[in-house]
Symmetry: C2
Subunit: 246 residues, 2 copies
């Protein structure tokens, strides 16, 4: 047991996409535009294309990793397959354009998150732990206006237990003193709980299906769920008190 409840938590991690800033909405819009393009060749009424793209995307994640460029290459591959190779060069170019637009849109912080990060950073060291394309994530971090709060920014290729264990070992911290905040049960919450850490799940209104494939009980004792970034500082304080008492 440590001196004050605050001290029982020595590090707070934030996810970035759909935790700090809007991301999935842009992917969803690109997905709709993709379907509009491909829908000129084939009838997508049965939502089959979406399913085929999702399957192809999951397989391609193994080869390409996450991120916009991976998505664009998967879309191009799916467009060729779904249209029976009839997709035009102009439409292929439109799909490349979707990727360029996604990589260049302005960063839009989620409501209340700037204040929440500031309040939490005034009590605990905070780090940003985000997955995806290094180049794109760095660009967003530069543009978001919050980078100065984070003692460290970790951009990783996969957020699993071994990644969190490595980050914690670099901070020389046991997981029991670490809270992770994020919108993905699979990437932000499950691996941290598994290591013995604490999690605050902030569900986003839309999340890539892949990211909700996780086995986390809603009543897990080391987990809080909040619906609004403004509740985050209190949730961290509550977990700190619980860690202090345990």
């Amino acid at each position: 047991m440590t001196a004050s409840p605050d001290d029982s938590i020595a590090l707070v991690g934030f996810d970035a996409d759909d935790t700090l800033w809007r991301s999935q909405d842009y992917f969803d819009a690109a997905q709709l535009e993709f379907e509009r393009i491909v829908g000129r060749y084939v009838d997508l009424g049965d939502a089959d294309a979406q399913q085929r793209l999702y399957e192809l995307e999951k397989r391609n994640v193994e080869i390409f990793g996450y991120g916009v460029k991976s998505m664009a290459l998967s879309m191009i591959e799916a467009a060729v397959a779904i249209t029976g190779e009839r997709i035009s060069g102009a439409d292929v170019h439109r799909i490349v354009g979707l990727a360029k637009d996604l990589l260049q849109h302005p960063v839009e912080l989620l409501p209340g998150i700037a204040e929440a990060v500031e309040r939490i950073a005034s009590r605990h060291p905070v780090v940003l732990i985000t997955k995806g394309d290094l180049f794109h994530q760095e660009a967003k971090v530069r543009r978001c206006g919050l980078a100065h709060w984070f003692g460290r920014i970790e951009i990783v290729s996969e957020k699993d237990a071994s990644t969190y264990a490595r980050v914690l070992s670099e901070f020389d911290l046991p997981a029991s003193r670490f809270v992770m905040i994020g919108n993905s049960l699979r990437s932000d919450i499950a691996p941290v709980l598994q290591l013995g850490g604490w999690g605050i799940h902030v569900p986003y209104h839309t999340t890539w299906a892949h990211e909700n494939e996780a086995d986390v009980a809603a009543d897990a004792p080391r987990l809080r769920v909040v619906r609004d970034a403004r509740e985050l500082p209190d949730a961290v304080a509550a977990l700190a008190a619980q860690a202090h008492a345990s």
Copy 2:
């Protein structure tokens, strides 16, 4: 001045692509295959396509960053442009396939490098500092069999003076105690010399034109050039002696 010449150098950085393992050859082979695909639509006798791809690639690096996926999206965009949108779906798919092949090929270490890393690591802390796609670089680091020698692996989006300054500040080291080893004058040597560090240039038989766009004098006093990885341990020792004497 420090106790022994070895101590005057406190960190040795290695580049990865075309310094530890073969990389540009695979890109060159993909480029040839790309030209073969596009050459079925237009006469590439004037080498114009290569120039247009290079120009497009340079512009796209600003948006996409480096790496295989960026290259593939650039190639697809160039193929659409060069063929006047006549490129077929099947050929677009072949270009996506070039990217998949590049991402999955085995890692082929350069001759003598495994022994050189081991010898240098027995005298100095060594780190790997590499640029490019996080997912792909991590995959290659895992497969290369040398990862255990490196105290740290930094995968960065751009290797410029500010990146090296950040890495050195995390090690709390002045540049004057750092040697960087790599094949790219632009990314490995020039920024480190600029900071007051030491460089060992190991030219590779083929290097992306972009990477040789650097203003480094061949007789720069803090630079060594070696032609073979087997000469690296002696080159590091020579620089350490020079640093010790200065």
